[in-house]
Amino acid sequence: MRLLGYIFSQTFRSIWRNKLSSFLSSLTTGFALFLLGISFLVSINLGFMYEMAETQMEIQAYMDKEATQTQLASAVSQIREIPGVAEVKFVSKEDALEELKEMFKDKASVLDSLEEDNPLPPSVRIKTAGAEHIPAVVEALQAFDIVDDVMYQEEVSRRLVQIGKAVQYLSLGGMLVVGLVSVMVIANSIRLTIDARRQEIGIMKLVGATDGFVMTPFLFEGVLLGFLGSAIGTGFAVWVYNWVAMKIAEFIPFMPIVGLDPDALWQMFGIMALTGVMVGLAGSAFSVRRHLRV
């Protein structure tokens, strides 16, 4: 118990003594872990998107805005005849606006101005009998003059998955680089502590303190810096994620974004804290080996 108390008090004293360096180490580690967190969050969303892509194989055919009711009605009945089509649902301009309002709910008033001059195109939503029919159906739809644009979930998902993967690789690569930098920065912070306490260390060894006893406060200091970094990184990642999710919900309402529930947050913080502690331990172990000569 006394030993533990000694280690804690030593650690907090030296972190306080090297405030700036300690802060910088935690911040750098925090940044590395922020990138890890972003990668983690992106991967949660990727998984979610794969699921979406599998369950919702809906094709949306956006029709010409100027098309008349009869033109649209005949197009719908022709679409029903395309082989592989299982379900067809017509969405009028008005329906589309209603859906949009439903999506925004409390912010629906901003859409009021659209009532007079509705810019949304009418569309047809098609479900196929299976994923294998999608390419042929899409091709058939594109042949219609009245069809402006064809989008289907799988295509959207595939693109999003690609973007997501790119983000993930970038952030993981960045994390490795910044992670290495944080190991070095923590190592340096620990070196400052070791330098400040060199005489004390010398006396400790002289009077028979074990190497473990001499080293532990330094290792603990590194671990603590790494842990602080993980808290900074998690906080920052969650903040950025929520901000981006909000922006996306605002501009691309149909894009699915996973909300962060407490379970996911804890899981993420767990991974981050573990990584932070390892980075801290690596940094302090490096410095202790190099500068403590135990």
Binding site: R2, G202, I203, L206, V207, G208, T210
Partner: protein, 226 residues
């Protein structure tokens, strides 16, 4: 207690600090190591608490072969050996009491035991009433007495002193040696490397003289010079 067998120490391949030294120190002895600066006194002392290891030959302390001793065993050897230096090596941000207690705390001694031992040993060096003073508030002699208290707080089998009076005036030096002599009376083996002629001549203890790393004299009741 301490035994050197044909010990040599070579630094950087050619500087010879010790040259085939053989020396036997028994339990309860008081030994002066004398000789000019650079004669190898400090190296000899350092080998006794395994701060240095021999380039060749064997060093036995408290029954252990120090050359073969594993690094993790060294702390346990040092807990049985007190060491005192010319520059005291006290921690400036700790007061007298804390400096002495530190030696027990870093080995996880229970607080009650620490209090008991520190009181005892500060009393022995006559500085219990100065226990709250910081090193910069203490005279050189007082600082050295605190350092001796720290070296003794664990009740060591051996007390090593490397020029303990090097920074002190002759009168204060005499006080320090009086304490070392008293420690020796209680049964602790004392080895002192020193330049203090008068004291060596006065105390008439065993004197080992080093010259260029080799033992040139070992007298039972010797003086600083022949």
């Amino acid at each position: 207690m301490i035994s050197f067998r044909n010990v040599s120490k070579v630094y950087n391949g050619n500087v010879k600090a010790l040259d085939r030294v053989s020396l036997q120190i028994d339990k309860g002895e008081f030994v002066f190591i004398v000789g000019a600066s650079g004669a190898g006194k400090s190296t000899l002392i350092k080998m006794m608490y395994r701060e240095e290891t021999p380039s060749s030959g064997q060093v036995f302390v408290l029954g252990k072969d120090l050359a073969k001793m594993r690094k993790r065993e060294v702390p346990y050897l040092r807990r049985r050996i007190g060491v005192v230096f010319q520059d005291f090596k006290l921690l400036k941000d700790k007061n007298a009491w804390e400096n002495v207690a530190f030696a027990l705390e870093v080995t996880g001694t229970p607080r009650r035991e620490v209090n008991r031992r520190v009181t005892q040993v500060l009393n022995m060096v006559g500085l219990l009433d100065r226990r709250n003073a910081f090193p910069n508030e203490l005279s050189g002699g007082e600082q050295q007495r605190i350092a001796i208290a720290r070296a003794l707080v664990r009740n060591p089998d051996i007390l090593l002193a490397d020029e303990p009076s090097g920074n002190l005036d002759p009168e204060t030096a005499m006080e320090i040696f009086a304490i070392l002599e008293r420690v020796n009376l209680y049964g602790t083996t004392v080895v002192v490397a020193t330049h203090a002629h008068d004291i060596v001549d006065n105390l008439r203890k065993r004197v080992v003289e080093l010259r260029d790393g080799a033992i040139v004299r070992d007298e039972r009741r010797g003086a600083y010079h022949y």
